[in-house]
């Protein structure tokens, strides 16, 4: 399904953040979903719809996600969404993707490390619901040629592996690769500050020895495990109140499709975006009364 048609399949009925009857949103049954709608990235709108239905109660009732400035996200054309990253199993990615897809009716592709691609079942499911290996050519193609929304967390696992004591302190934004891709693709960057993910699955401490033995980026012991027990606690989030603030889009006054961009400009822009998100977070935190009720 070409992106333009796919867009119309994502049905939105509401912009209000209250639960609405969803009877009118029956997805059209596909004769054989796996034979028909998996796109070149492995995303399936049908699977995405199922994922949205499963996640919707979580989004609306558990996290009670609330957006500010959603209108700043372009309704057409490519854009790179950049957000802060947190929680042992990041809860921010599904919340952002779900929010934009239901509120704006645009698919969002989430970039993540290639480690996903190596996992049986998980890797396949992850790509079905919009995950794409974070690779410059992939991002460029999605942004420039297919004019899609692409979500990236420049902190990577440095963000999600933070202990609770370091919450809302943004890590280094990689090597600025996301800025370079946006420049090359000629699309704006839309920064998003996410509050709530840090408290949804906070890490108390980590087991570096175990992580090394298992070949995983980190193995956390979370507060959830202590409260809900080791099994349930490793998958169940705390009902932290989510607030998401979309900041002003940033466009770059450079020509697209250059083989290389000035390193200093890339790093300055990258650091500038990091600071904007960090400042917005401090402000949101100052205004927050309660972790659970916002």
């Amino acid at each position: 399904v070409p992106p333009s048609e796919r867009k119309t399949q994502v049905k939105t009925t509401t912009r209000a953040l209250v639960p609405v009857p969803r009877a009118a949103e029956e997805p059209e049954p596909l004769a054989d979903p796996r034979e028909s709608d998996v796109d070149e990235w492995g995303r399936s709108e049908h699977m995405r719809e199922i994922a949205r239905r499963l996640f919707d109660p979580m989004y609306r009732r558990w996290f009670r996600a609330e957006w500010e400035g959603l209108e700043k996200i372009p309704v057409d054309g490519g854009a790179l969404l950049v957000a802060n990253h947190a929680a042992a199993i990041p809860s921010d990615a599904p919340v952002i993707m779900h929010g934009i897809e239901t509120e704006l009716g645009r698919p969002v592709y989430g970039l993540a490390e290639y480690i996903f691609r190596d996992l049986p079942v998980v890797g396949t499911m992850w790509s079905r619901v919009g995950g794409v290996t974070a690779q410059p050519d992939n991002a460029y193609r999605l942004l420039r040629e297919q004019k899609q929304l692409v979500l990236v967390f420049p902190e990577g696992t440095k963000g999600t592996s933070k202990n609770y004591t370091e919450r809302y302190n943004l890590r280094r934004f990689g090597r600025g690769g996301f800025v370079e891709i946006a420049m090359r693709a000629g699309v704006p960057i839309v920064p998003i500050a996410v509050m709530g993910a840090e408290e949804s699955m906070p890490i108390v401490f980590k087991l570096p020895g175990v992580a090394k033995a298992l070949g995983m980026p980190y193995v956390p012991i979370t507060a959830n495990m202590m409260v809900f027990g080791p099994l349930l606690g490793s998958v169940l989030y705390f009902p932290a109140k989510f607030k998401l603030k979309v900041l002003d889009p940033i466009s770059f006054d450079v020509a697209p499709n250059q083989p290389r961009y000035s390193r200093s400009k890339v790093m300055d822009e990258s650091e500038g975006i990091r600071e904007k998100i960090q400042e917005a977070l401090y402000e949101m935190l100052r205004e927050r009364r309660s972790v659970w009720f916002g």
């Binding site: 990235w41 996992l119 049986p120 998980v122 396949t124 410059p136 050519d137 992939n138």
Partner: protein, 342 residues
């Protein structure tokens, strides 16, 4: 004066078909075909020259026939059909001799078209979804066939650099699929069960034999410099392909897959090449922008159509005339004819 073309591997599927197609081009004056074995397709005006597998006599032939174009179709990409030693002789030494002949003093060669394979990109978790011709390999070469093809590409680059007056086109073919050609994958699809790796649904890409042949002819007629990917459009997930084949997939855990397939080979099932085992995990797709923009050839099949037609053919279904089959000037040989695999 018309074009004078030398085709290597005349006895193989590609060499024979390219020679047939060139015979219908009025601008091609002379076609010389080289191989160890007699060509198996019907040829009218192609001159067949017997050679050994690594073309030690090539430089004399180039001199005698004064060809301006060499089409090197005889590169082995299926490692299951021969020992890696023979493959090395054919791919590496053969190509070396071919370039030695083409760059000999007084050589009349101005165009060289080499049919390589997308195997040179490898297949790993760090790869992009689509490989462009410039995408570097992210993993080291794992198998002898990949190593030999990378060595060939090295010769191609060196030759192109040393001989700027010669146009060298390097066509990187995806896995071929078509009713008339046997490849590692087509034999896997003919098994009663299709082996797969549990939890992975790789995106595979194929080139229909007609697209492959037309791309070769287009590259001969319109020489471009450098590497060009050749494939039918789009990709297909393995799951979807297995469903279309109406055969059960047998998923093996990743750790057991290699062993299980090798055990199958020992009891008489077809061998799967090592590179293909990796492909069943991570898949591979190539970008076709250069093929369209520079060679000026847009494949007529999608990968899905190529698979559908192939599956129909092995089930003995007849493809309706003109439905998705060839409509251009190229007609395929009599289907009753036996065409050995390259």
């Amino acid at each position: 004066m018309g074009r004078r073309v030398l085709v290597t591997g005349l006895g193989t599927f590609w060499g024979g078909r390219v020679a047939q197609a060139l015979e219908r081009e009025p601008e091609v004056e002379v076609i010389v075909g080289l191989d160890r074995e007699e060509p198996s397709v019907e040829l009218e005006r192609t001159e067949y020259v017997r050679s050994d597998e690594n073309y030690s006599i090539l430089s004399r032939i180039v001199k005698a026939t004064k060809v301006d174009t060499i089409v090197h179709t005889f590169l082995v990409v299926d490692s299951t059909t021969m020992s890696s030693r023979t493959m090395h002789e054919i791919n590496v030494i053969g190509t070396m001799n071919l370039f030695a002949a083409a760059s000999a003093p007084g050589s009349t060669v101005r165009n060289v078209v080499v049919k390589s394979s997308t195997l040179v990109y490898g297949s790993s978790k760090e790869d992009p979804t689509w490989f462009s011709e410039e995408t570097p390999r992210t993993s080291p070469a794992h198998t002898p066939v990949e190593r030999s093809l990378l060595a060939v590409e090295g010769y191609v680059r060196d030759f192109a650099e040393d001989n700027p007056h010669v146009n060298v086109t390097l066509l990187r073919f995806s896995n071929v699929l078509g009713p008339d050609i046997t490849t590692p994958l087509s034999s896997a699809l003919e098994l009663p069960l299709v082996p797969s790796i549990f939890g992975f649904d790789p995106r595979l890409q194929f080139v229909h034999e007609i697209d492959g042949l037309e791309a070769l002819v287009a590259a001969i007629k319109n020489p471009v410099r450098g590497a060009v990917n050749v494939a039918s459009r789009g990709t297909i997930g393995l799951t979807r392909m297995v469903r279309m084949s109406k055969k059960p997939a047998v998923p093996f855990p990743p750790q057991l897959f290699g062993g299980a397939v090798d055990a199958g080979a020992r009891v008489g099932l077809d061998r799967l090449s090592d590179d293909f085992k990796r492909l069943l995990r991570y898949g591979r797709g190539v970008d076709l922008t250069r093929l369209a923009d520079e060679v000026g050839f847009v494949p007529r099949y999608t990968t899905v159509e190529a698979v559908a037609e192939y599956l129909g053919a092995i089930r003995g279904e007849l493809v309706p005339e003109g439905a998705i089959g060839p409509t251009g000037p190229i007609t395929m040989a009599d289907p009753a004819e036996e065409v050995p695999a390259p």
